[in-house]
């Protein structure tokens, strides 16, 4: 039995991006219905865990051009430059909009919003709400969304398929988790805003819900996943759990030390080491470079041995307890409660962990997928602003800028098309329901969900870690192929229909495996090093002649995905030297001199 709910725009995922999109539809197009579908209550979405802040050009000595350049060079020139232009231009207005909706941004004494320094950003432009920026943004958006009666929420509804008929997306099928019943949400346009896929890896900063659902759903319907080989390791995470210590720790002046108490980043082209933070240098370098430096320190035996392996020290002691309590209260509590470390008195052991998927569902600059009626926004989407390495504090702003755009684009499209035939859709929904129910019915397959998930995560860490080589990537390709076969025998012990979370874990595992496969095959075929994709096997350099291209992974059933390539939009920043620290300042000066001599 499938129930039907008819609406204009369906949004899957109710984190920052999905909520912003819903508000955009509801405020600009109040006659359109919106179904906001989420497997958790909106305020549980993983946006909640973002800590550091949201970027927008704010200070008078800053410029859109500077934010553009930081983003494009930070992304190692794999960004869509016209999309980055749009992004940096819209950023500030969206953050002001959040302020008007009540977001408790941290303030300067004069009452204006304060900004802090962030990695890879030349000028301080990161708006923040202490170190709980994502939490405050998410709750502000959720609470604001309550104003709009046209938003019909389907909380704790788990999406199992997109319904595609007549060459366009016409709705989604979701399980009401509490009852186990199915609802067909028929819509003229669907926006996917389901977040990233960090749970593909073992040690990661992500919540348990971050399982690549929307990416896998679009992928299975023929939409290519773009640039999936680019996975961000955040350099400062908690050993064992991978929980995040925000980059703002370093924005506020924190140091990274090796076992000798030495600020080792100066050995990796990020120096000189100075006692106070210098933007785009040392601890305020970009995440890919910092995580890579950790790897090298570990090779050199200069890391600290801990119960969960090698670590380095994040030293915040010199900031003092008062500043830490004010600017980094959550970090303070996490260190004390989870690690038994008082950061005002001892350094925090940290290591890199998987944090963010730069790639995602292929989207044009206006969030549209190649499949008519489908849009994507947020971490699940590859709209083109992050390239090969995202800068911290660009993604929270992305949720807003592109959430609004996706809402408006989907609403405009929904206004131009009619609902398709309900009978056909219901038949498609029945088939999708049968596939989902078949997973729940596998009581004697013999493969434990947790075993497959663990093997996948370990293999991804081996093959798609901070440094990669063909041999380990190939081994991971083989492992994922094996796991996809074993997945057919995955066993679900739980026989209830109400709150059968084991069933949902099994479905999620299917999503994770497909996304993992797209990642590792895209990685294997990128024979160069760029941003977060670094190879050790003869492809150590960036290769703009052959690889200044987006990878496109096409789903291929049981077989390996087909990897194709798409052009990168270069408007006014040709690929240049990506340098930080003193070398970066020299490179900037050279670039400016060149530009002015051409002018």
């Amino acid at each position: 039995m499938v129930e039907t709910f008819k609406t204009d725009v369906a949004i899957v995922g109710a984190g920052g991006a999905g909520l912003r999109a819903a508000i955009a539809v509801a405020s600009a197009h109040p006659t359109l219905g919106v179904a906001l579908v989420s497997k958790v209550y909106p305020m549980r979405s993983h946006t909640v865990a973002a800590e550091g802040g949201a970027a927008a050009v704010t200070q008078s000595h800053d410029s859109l051009e500077a934010h553009f350049h930081d983003t494009v060079s930070g992304g190692d020139w794999l960004c869509e430059q016209d999309v980055v232009d749009f992004f940096v231009a819209q950023a500030r207005e969206e953050l002001v909009q959040m302020e008007h909706w009540g977001c408790p941004w941290s303030r300067k004494p004069d009452g204006h919003v304060n900004v802090r320094a962030f990695g890879g950003m030349k000028i301080e432009r990161t708006w923040f709400a202490a170190d709980k920026t994502g939490f405050h943004m998410l709750h502000t958006l959720f609470q604001t969304s309550i104003k709009y009666p046209s938003i019909k929420r389907f909380d704790e509804h788990f999406c199992v398929d997109l319904l595609v008929d007549e060459g366009r997306v016409q709705g989604v099928l979701a399980i009401d988790i509490a009852s186990g019943g199915f609802t067909l949400i028929q819509a003229k346009a669907v926006i996917i805003a389901t977040g990233g896929a960090g749970r593909v890896f073992r040690e990661n900063t992500n919540g348990g819900i971050v399982t690549g659902d929307g990416m896998a759903l679009a992928y299975r319907h023929g939409v290519p996943l773009r640039d999936m080989e680019f996975v961000q390791y955040h350099p400062t995470c908690m050993p064992g759990t991978g929980l995040l210590f925000t980059e703002a720790c370093r924005g506020e002046g924190g140091f990274l030390l090796n076992k000798d108490g030495y600020r080792y980043l100066q050995d990796y082209g990020l120096g000189p080491a100075e006692p106070t933070p210098r933007n785009k240098a040392m601890e305020l370098g970009p995440r890919d470079r910092l995580s890579q430096a950790f790897w090298h320190e570990k090779q050199k035996g200069r890391t600290v041995a801990g119960p969960h392996g090698a670590a380095v020290h994040l030293d915040l002691r010199h900031l003092g307890e008062k500043k830490l309590r004010e600017r980094l209260p959550q970090i303070y509590e996490l260190a004390v409660e989870y690690l038994g470390v008082d950061p005002a008195r001892a350094p925090i052991p940290v290591l890199p962990a998987v944090h963010y998927t730069m790639g995602g569902i292929t989207a044009d600059g206006k969030t549209a997928a190649p499949l008519p009626g489908l849009y994507s926004v947020g971490e699940c989407s590859s709209v083109g602003i992050h390239g090969a390495n995202r800068l911290g504090s660009n993604s929270l702003t992305e949720l807003l800028v592109f959430g609004k755009l996706a809402g408006n684009e989907a609403a405009t499209y929904a206004s131009t098309v009619a609902h398709g035939g309900s009978a056909t859709l219901l038949a498609l929904a029945e088939k999708a329901r049968a596939r989902a129910v078949a997973i729940a019915a596998r009581h004697d397959g013999g493969e434990r969900i947790a075993t497959l998930r663990r093997e996948m995560a370990l293999s991804m860490e081996e093959g798609c870690g901070i440094y990669r080589s063909a041999e380990t990537m190939q081994a991971t390709c083989d492992k994922i192929a094996e796991l996809k076969q074993r997945y057919k025998k995955v066993q679900v012990d739980d026989r209830s229909t109400a709150w059968n979370t084991e069933w949902l874990l099994a479905v999620e595992l299917g999503y994770l495996l497909d996304v993992a496969q797209a990642m590792v095959h895209s990685a294997l075929q990128r024979k160069e090093s760029r941003g977060s994709h670094q190879r050790l096997d003869g492809f150590e350099q960036r290769d703009d002649v052959n690889h200044l291209k987006h990878s496109l992974a096409f789903f291929n059933g049981d077989d390996a995905p087909r990897i194709d390539y798409g052009e990168v939009k270069i408007t006014h920043s040709p690929p240049g030297t990506r340098a930080y620290g003193a070398a970066g300042e020299q490179a900037d000066a050279d670039r400016k001199a060149k530009e002015s001599s051409h002018a």
Binding site: W101, R107, G208, Y338
Partner: protein, 255 residues
């Protein structure tokens, strides 16, 4: 200075109150033996049970870092976030885990959240600007001191531990309750907000602040130091002022 934690493996007994409406008429206790290290949370123990011992045990969780608000439950009789509660503090066990008190159980450790969310939706939990402002005019000014008036009350993660701690909510599920009243106060106390009159109806109603009997356990269990009891009691003063001022002021008490 806190003691750094170690990771030597021991075992501990975990007892969980199970309830599967399709299989049991009433909740039953079920025990599991779980290997643990000093840095393991109760959530990690539950995950171990689900992954390795019994896939049918159901509970909500996500962020693992005490910010998403999903994993509230009764741990040894006290409302707590399972991700923020460590086995090392519950020795020697057994640790007894139940669904959050005062809420209908949907299954195992999962309670119904709908009532709470309905209350949250009822209080206009969004900024109703005192003075309209266009985006081109930029942000409202708010000094750090003004921000401090709301910062604590805006930190509620909606985990509902305070409801499990509230004897009044236990007696009367219609009571608006500590978390939502704290949120209401968060908007009323915001220097940018002018919506207080619209929210007073909820505050003054029988199920509003006057239902609170000032036990204060809500603030004690709050994992984010929101101090809902303080918010509720400040609003008793506001509600009382509102009541008396309506006799002397034609505008219903706004000076």
């Amino acid at each position: 200075m806190p003691e750094p934690v170690t990771t030597a493996v021991k075992t501990i007994r975990i007892e969980v109150l199970r309830y599967r409406p399709e299989q049991e008429d009433a909740p039953v206790w079920q025990g599991y033996t779980v290997p643990f290290t000093d840095d393991m949370s109760v959530l990690q123990a539950l995950q171990h049970i689900k992954d390795e011992l019994d896939g049918s045990l159901s509970f909500r969780w996500s962020c693992r870092m005490a910010i998403c608000g999903s994993c509230g439950m009764m741990i040894d009789g006290k409302p707590a976030l399972s991700c923020q509660t460590f086995l090392r503090d519950l020795l020697p066990g057994p640790v007894r885990i139940e669904a959050l008190a005062n809420f209908p159980i949907e299954r195992d450790l999962i309670v119904s959240v709908d009532g709470f969310v309905g209350k949250l939706e009822s209080i206009k939990p969004y900024l109703i600007p005192k003075q309209p402002r266009t985006l081109a005019q930029g942000e409202y000014l708010q000094t750090p001191a003004q921000l401090e008036q709301i910062e604590q009350y805006s930190s509620c993660i909606n985990c509902m531990l305070c409801y499990a701690a509230c004897p009044q909510f236990g007696l009367d599920p219609g009571f608006t309750g500590p978390g939502v009243l704290a949120l209401l106060h968060r908007y009323n106390a915001d220097s940018r907000d002018g919506g207080r009159d619209q929210r007073m109806a909820v505050l003054n109603a029988e199920e509003g602040v006057w239902s609170c009997t000032a036990v204060g356990y809500c603030s004690e269990v709050c994992p984010k130091h929101v101090d809902p009891a303080n918010a509720v009691n400040q609003n008793k003063v506001n509600s009382a002022k509102d009541y008396f001022l309506r006799f002397v002021s034609p505008r219903g008490g706004r000076p």
